[in-house]
């Protein structure tokens, strides 16, 4: 390019705008700047004129060179387009993929909707989607049906674990010195303290229980408390041990409070009871269920009934217990073992039978 005297730096920014100027796309300010520069510099003016002239020449040449496309290309292309159009008609294009729609096209009304549905459901991935949706729906419905039961179970579990202190309080009410209470404590502690805690940890319902709102737990617990009061109304404030009629322990209560000095024989149950009491002080041991308390109550009723049956001909359970304790206190371990054995034999379903059996074994060991 032989642009004579035009200083390159001066018009360089204007050259950047020359294309816009040649195509009439420059703004007014740029147009004025270029035209004033052309008026000011002959070299720049010649440069712009040469470019404009080149553009005219090239357009003229392109117009001369312009020729129609070969007809055989058109025919082959249209044949291929017809085949592809037939394929697209057969497969049916997904309507959602089209942004531009021909409003005058067919597929209107219910017939068109049915055709669209048929095309949609005739595709394999549609069935996959429907299958996944069905499984999910069944899962949600199943959860919905089980939810109340699960929630009730969870509430019961929480209420049971929460109501332990109350049950424990009623169980701990008898004085430690009371004969027989140690065994009862031991039994309750051994049989009932552990399982609820374990269940709470292992069962998935524990999660639900932990998620339960405190308000609902309290409400549920309130109901359980009422039920407890109803069930054990007569012994409210007393011990679960009181399910054995109060008079059953009357001789023991009236007996000297001074317990016999702990012997090897008698220390076993007492030690177990103490351990049970210490465990009862722990939250996990405290955990008792109302149902379990209720079952103890039921067993006590059965036991009471058995005692009444036995009362006509043989010493009652309470009398045997008192006798066994008395014999142990008197270090008559043979007789005590016999009485324990009698208790085991006559009251095999008694919750304390296991303790009596241990006492019997201990007495025999001492005797031997």
């Amino acid at each position: 390019m032989n642009t004579d005297a035009s200083p390159p730096d001066r018009f360089e920014s204007l050259r950047e705008q020359l294309v816009d100027y040649l195509y009439n796309q420059a703004d007014v300010a740029t147009t004025r700047a270029i035209e004033s520069a052309m008026a000011e510099s002959e070299g720049f003016s010649l440069e712009v004129d040469a470019l404009a002239r080149t553009l005219r020449i090239s357009r003229r040449a392109l117009a001369v060179a312009s020729s129609p496309a070969p007809s055989r290309v058109r025919s082959s292309v249209l044949a291929a387009a017809a085949e592809q159009a037939a394929r697209m008609r057969e497969s049916g294009l997904e309507p959602a993929r089209l942004v531009v729609r021909n409003e005058t096209d067919d597929h209107g009304g219910s017939q068109g909707a049915l055709a669209t549905l048929w095309r949609w459901f005739s595709r394999p991935y549609t069935f996959s989607l429907v299958g996944v949706a069905a499984v999910f729906a069944i899962f949600v419905m199943t959860r919905g049906q089980n939810a109340p039961q699960l929630a009730d179970d969870a509430m019961r579990s929480v209420a049971e674990s929460t109501s332990e202190p109350a049950a424990r309080a009623t169980a701990a009410a008898p004085t430690e010195g009371q004969p027989g209470t140690e065994d009862r404590d031991q039994e309750l502690a051994e049989d009932k303290a552990g399982p609820p805690a374990v269940r709470f940890q292992n069962e998935p319902l524990g999660k639900l229980a932990r998620k339960s709102s405190p308000k609902r737990i309290t409400k549920d617990f309130g109901r359980k408390g009422d039920a407890l009061d109803d069930t054990f109304g007569g012994i409210a404030g007393g011990s679960v041990e009181a399910e054995a009629p109060a008079q059953a322990h009357a001789p023991a209560k009236s007996a000297p409070a001074a317990a016999p000095p702990p012997t090897q024989a008698s220390s076993a149950p007492v030690g177990v009871a103490a351990e049970a009491r210490s465990r009862a002080a722990k939250p996990s041991v405290i955990a008792q269920t109302n149902s379990e308390v209720a079952s103890v109550a039921d067993e006590s009723v059965v036991q009471e009934r058995d005692e009444k049956k036995e009362s006509g001909s043989a010493p009652s359970r309470a009398e045997l217990l008192a006798r066994a304790k008395k014999l142990e206190a008197a270090k008559s371990y043979d007789e005590a073992a016999a009485v324990w054995a009698e208790l085991v034999r006559r009251f095999p379903k008694d919750p304390q039978t296991a303790a009596w059996r241990r006492a019997e074994t201990a007495a025999r060991k001492v005797r031997n």
Binding site: I57, S67, V77, V99
Partner: protein, 209 residues
């Protein structure tokens, strides 16, 4: 009367309306053909490429979405095909328009490329002149760097706005305009002997396109 947009025609073709595609072909084949013809120089290659452009559009029609202009899409396909062809030509020893001036001047025997280039005026002196013009044009275009040539042809043959050219070639609009200016400056030198064309009776003026 309202002219149906390219995009609407393509949507119809997606539904199986083959006449819509025929309309698209007739609307764009001339510009595509001349772009390809001027870009690659060889009419046979240009014909193959033109067919390939439309075949690719046909094959991809079902996947087309209305987020780009159909014309820009077609021209981008054409430009990419030309780019691929130019890459292949680098390693191929073929009859080049660059070599024709010497050959034309030195050897009068046998067919000349000048004779192969189609013109549209069949008679006498004007026909010869047009052929000469076309030859000079093709020679000049062949000497342009590819990036300048494609911008020049997209703007002057396909009549694409600079913004669409920028999209097609993947460059900014100022860059495209800059390439256009360099192309014009180079063509001014290469087409200097055709200055009389500028004064010919052709309605070519700056601007307005």
């Amino acid at each position: 009367m309202h002219e149906v947009q390219d995009e609407e025609l393509m949507a119809r073709y997606q539904k199986g309306d083959e006449s819509a595609f025929a309309t698209l072909v007739s609307r764009h084949e001339l510009r595509l053909w001349n772009f390809l013809r001027r870009y690659v120089g060889d009419p046979d290659t240009a014909e193959d490429l033109l067919q390939e452009v439309f075949m690719r559009v046909i094959r991809s029609a079902s996947e087309w979405r209305n987020d780009a202009k159909v014309s820009t899409w077609m021209f981008s396909i054409a430009r990419n095909l030309c780019t691929d062809h130019a890459r292949r030509q680098v390693h191929r020893k073929a009859a080049s328009l660059d070599a024709t001036p010497e050959r034309i001047g030195d050897d009068d025997s046998g067919p000349r490329l000048l004779d192969k280039i189609a013109g549209h005026e069949p008679d006498g002196e004007s026909r010869l002149r047009d052929k000469e013009t076309i030859l000079r044009l093709d020679q000049a275009l062949a000497q342009l760097p590819q990036e300048q040539r494609e911008v020049f042809l997209m703007r002057e043959v396909m009549e694409m706005p600079f913004a669409e050219i920028a999209l097609a070639v993947g460059a900014s609009e100022p860059t495209v305009k800059s390439r256009m200016r360099y192309a014009l400056e180079r063509l001014r030198v290469l087409l200097a002997d055709l200055n009389d064309l500028a004064d010919a009776d052709v309605a070519v003026a700056t601007g307005g396109r």
